[in-house]
Symmetry: D3
Subunit: 126 residues, 6 copies
């Protein structure tokens, strides 16, 4: 197996979904995809000042506050892949309720519950 410390931020966040997420980004718009890959993932997320687990909890909080429900699954999975527990992701969303109100937090929890349900369905041992 590959050394996780050698993986890029993007590889660690996207895991086995990497090819599918990148293909969809490029399909949406190659120029915007380029900026997201190069600036957000390739530069900001690679900076050492914050660890990826913290960065992914921040991403979950920000997408929850924005109400960006379709972008949430990538970073809900990313947070779990980077070492956050389901309880930490849930608590991050609970905290958003204090800063951005209950409706945004509830919408994010529904996305998370759907994702966890799908993950169980996909896993016969789930």
């Amino acid at each position: 197996m590959s050394d996780p410390d050698r993986l890029s931020a993007r590889e660690r966040i996207w895991g086995e979904d990497a090819a599918a997420i990148e293909a969809k980004l490029v399909e949406a718009d190659p120029d915007l995809a380029g900026l997201i890959l190069r600036v957000a993932y390739g530069e900001v997320f690679e900076r050492p000042q914050l660890d990826l687990r913290t960065r992914e909890l921040l991403a979950v909080a920000l997408l929850t506050a924005l109400g960006a429900e379709r972008e949430l699954p990538t970073h809900l999975r990313g947070a779990l892949r980077c070492g956050a527990s389901v309880a930490e992701v849930r608590e991050t969303i609970v905290q958003v309720a204090m800063f951005a109100g209950f409706p945004r937090a509830l919408a994010a929890m529904r996305v998370l519950a759907r994702h966890l349900g799908d993950a169980e369905d996909a896993d016969p041992a789930g």
Copy 2:
């Protein structure tokens, strides 16, 4: 029939959907559901400073301004259950257009139209 003044704010807002709404809240996340039930419904909505009809019009306006389309149906129905007319709910959304622009108001009207259409479909006398 039960005395409406004895019912909790939550019972009056949720009406016959109460069991379904509560089950879905808990399914999304038990901790967040607890805060919503205890703080928002059990405490703030129970305070006597505003009547429930006004509170539900405020809820419709705020969810419209947030663009929280999936959370809207609960409070569109809640406003009607708490004594607001369809015309008052529509006018609340029209007023939001002045403060938060036409797109948010239009999106909320579409949710309302769908809800009223469904209600008619479900009601053979509709």
Copy 3:
């Protein structure tokens, strides 16, 4: 004294500040001022589907949710002029905290506290 039912929505909301508010609107931009006066005040706020007290509580809630602190004083005063009590205005802002989070509600309460303090300062019997 003039019959309050004969007054326009704008006159009832703006009260003795009417000339100052209108002058400032026109100074900011005559075209935008025209739209606000004609469409928001002259048309939407004049529609009979909602009373002005409810409309002004909706305005307070929406401006609080938007974080529009400089536009708030006009409608905080307007709500009080149209028959809402200070307790109702405060409770409206408390309810916003549930839908849009504590920071927006707190910022609005600070604007309200400042306004009420100024009003007391201006009133030797306050």
Copy 4:
């Protein structure tokens, strides 16, 4: 063929979708539809200070920043009908990423890609 300079802003933006869009607006709410048709399209969009191509790029940018994904298709098509190229619409959305972040821009690009795909599917020569 009719003289494009004689067409209303609304006819130029909505093109062959005009009847369908207007019917849907009225179906959502006749009063709100009236305001949108009369004030937004009939007055603001008719003012000569900005050409319609610029106005539609502004509309795309604003709907992208709001995350108003269901309202976007009308103005994505409108921008193209009013003389903007696909490259200009894409670039407008890329610029929004700088001011409102990548998630909003990405969501809008997905709506655009879907629209362009549908347009190709509908056009045997596409």
Copy 5:
């Protein structure tokens, strides 16, 4: 005089304020300043798909919709420097009112009026 076509997007937008704006950006945070200078100004704003006048009107619209009143002056001036007239900038803000409501548009008009007033004060021939 230097050839305007040889100037960078940043030089054309910032004009004689360039040194002051850059110093303030770096003072706020060198890393963030680096991203803004390199990605927003050095890359996105340099792309040929949109002219700078259109980009600056988009910037004014987006900052108005965000309520980012302190960031507005840079792009109000930038729009004027890149060839937009005061009437076009005003009309851009009027259009924002349709998409994001009157309060945001009004706040931006106040910033613009203040800027234009200051410009007159600074110009003995104003």
Copy 6:
């Protein structure tokens, strides 16, 4: 000195500003202050699922995304008090730029720079 593990979340976040912050909250509105103290600080921030350093970085990110510049200083200081470095707080704000755009991030950096400047001014050894 007191054992930091015995301190409440609120005491650790507010530090020596505790009395001043609480007095200002109550002055703004006693009921809202009660909810913030009891629910946000007394309940959510006390939950063990996330450490206070992570919670305060989330708070900084959320207030930055909301543009809540007046509420930011409390949590900028809180993050530093709970063990985050200045570099981590800065990086949190840089990450917000990716999710909510450069203007919000820049505004937050200006608040932070002002706070750090004030702290230096207050500290003769700064």
